[in-house]
Symmetry: C2
Subunit: 299 residues, 2 copies
């Protein structure tokens, strides 16, 4: 077991100006694990209710995602409902039902304990910390979060941040954490809070990555038709870490390539609702887009 992902496994209802999709699978863990599964065989930790679609569990199996850490509890799966505006960057949360996440105590299965890479995808930072305490000696710990936790549990979040190597967050979130407008300066300040690598996700504007020695700026893949942006950031992180797990290295050159693979996975995710694009996606399509990306930024 090399990459273990803890996150949420949701049922989402998503509304865009064109379409409303009722009760489809979502969540940070679902998206990140599926994106990573194109590069490696991740294990997942999280909780679902009795209504989580069996069909998605079949996809996890087919993609060789280890589900020993996915607990099924009595009751309903964590539910989120959101609406996107004409501008897909404008998202409104309409409803959140914690359901089985209430009182959930994550347990890492014995076979996950020696994971080399732990990804604490977006979830309550107390649960992220709990998992981190159970891992034995990970080589690399990455975390993601969201504005909700920065507001609600800043202390717990900063405690986890001190223990991670890679911090993924979007531009709005990092501006909440570091009171500063310049993203390069923010990225550097984040490095003083624990992580060795700041990965600032900027949605349609790509990603800015800083460590102490290098800066990497990667535009987003230009997508003319964004069907559903839900999970794009989780897929970025999943692709990024899946690639690092595959190459078993975290040198600058690996990080740069991981950023492009992450970008490619996010660009596929938004082409259809929920995880639907991953149903048919092939690795050769991923490689093809990776090469198209090379062309995009060439000069």
């Amino acid at each position: 077991m090399s990459l273990v992902i803890i996150g949420t496994f949701n049922i989402d209802t998503i509304e865009t100006p064109q379409v409303r999709k009722e009760r489809i699978a979502g969540g940070s863990g679902t998206y990140a694990a599926l994106a990573a599964s194109f590069f490696t065989q991740p294990g997942i930790v999280g909780v679902i209710g009795e209504d989580f679609p069996g069909e998605i569990l079949d996809i996890f199996k087919e993609k060789k995602i280890d589900t020993h850490g996915l607990e099924t509890r009595k009751g309903k799966t964590f539910f989120w409902e959101g609406r996107y505006g004409d501008d897909p960057n404008q998202r409104t949360t309409l409803k959140t039902e914690i359901n089985v996440l209430h009182g959930y105590e994550p347990r890492i299965p014995v076979e996950y304990k020696k994971a080399d890479i732990i990804f604490l995808a977006n979830i309550d930072p107390d649960l992220q910390e709990d998992i981190l305490d159970q891992a034995e000696n990970p080589q690399l710990v990455a975390m993601d979060t969201m504005n909700f936790w920065i507001n609600k549990k800043p202390d717990a979040l900063l405690r986890v941040l001190r223990r991670v190597n890679i911090f993924f967050a979007n531009d709005e979130e990092v501006k909440m954490l570091v009171r500063e407008a310049n993203l390069v300066a923010i990225g550097r300040q984040l490095l003083t809070k624990g992580p060795k690598l700041s990965v600032i996700k900027k949605g349609e504007h790509g990603v800015l990555i800083l460590d102490e020695k290098f800066v990497c700026a990667i535009p987003a893949f230009p997508s003319e038709c964004v069907v559903d942006p839900t999970g794009a950031g989780d897929c970025f992180a999943g692709g990024f870490l899946g690639y690092l797990d595959k190459v078993r290295s975290c040198e600058e050159a690996d990080v740069r390539r991981a950023a492009v693979y992450g970008t490619v996975m996010a660009s596929f995710a938004i082409e259809d609702f929920g995880i639907d694009r991953f149903r048919t996606l092939t690795f050769s399509e991923i490689e093809e887009r990776y090469e198209a990306f090379r062309k995009l930024v060439s000069f």
Copy 2:
């Protein structure tokens, strides 16, 4: 005479949270011409008042900018005063005084009439059209504009747009012109309005360039210390067109390199107030940053 630039030649007062700079040289023509002068010897068309700093005219001379088209009229130079917030993307215009621009009728000097490249930098679209009527047979016409003209003279602006090859505008502006949220779709729609190339400037997020056959996405150069963002877009366009004039070609590969040189010129411009960074900038510094940019996006 190969590149001719029409634009405004201002006196600006600029306030940032740290510093207030009174009455320094600015304007779309000033910035674009200085940026272009590192690659070629542009001619400029515009009007100044008696109070325009002679010291700046000396810099134009030193940089071999042809000022035969720069008319001096009685009265005061066009004046703009603006304030930036802690986030340099937030700009408030405090004062605008038209002064000598009032009733100005631009005249292209005879020696400019055979210009290969005409750059209609941001100025009243009626003046842009007037200049275009006076040019004899330019190979390449580029234009820039601003939200003010999109609101105030949309018909004149669209008339000019039909006659240009390259359209530079920022993301806010193009969203006003094309009612659509997706920048790739906007870029494509702009191509139906006249230009062969849409160049969408996104400030700190870089630039997105589309023609019928290719897409080019270039991040901004990561600047940790933005002193004064005024004129960054004009310097981008000036560097872009100066480079195209230098290489005398406009193939895809040239456009991609031009975009990086434009990005580099904008990144220098914002490092000091007004045009101050260009006083000491050398071509080898430009080449050095161009190479650093290659590293930035490499993978």
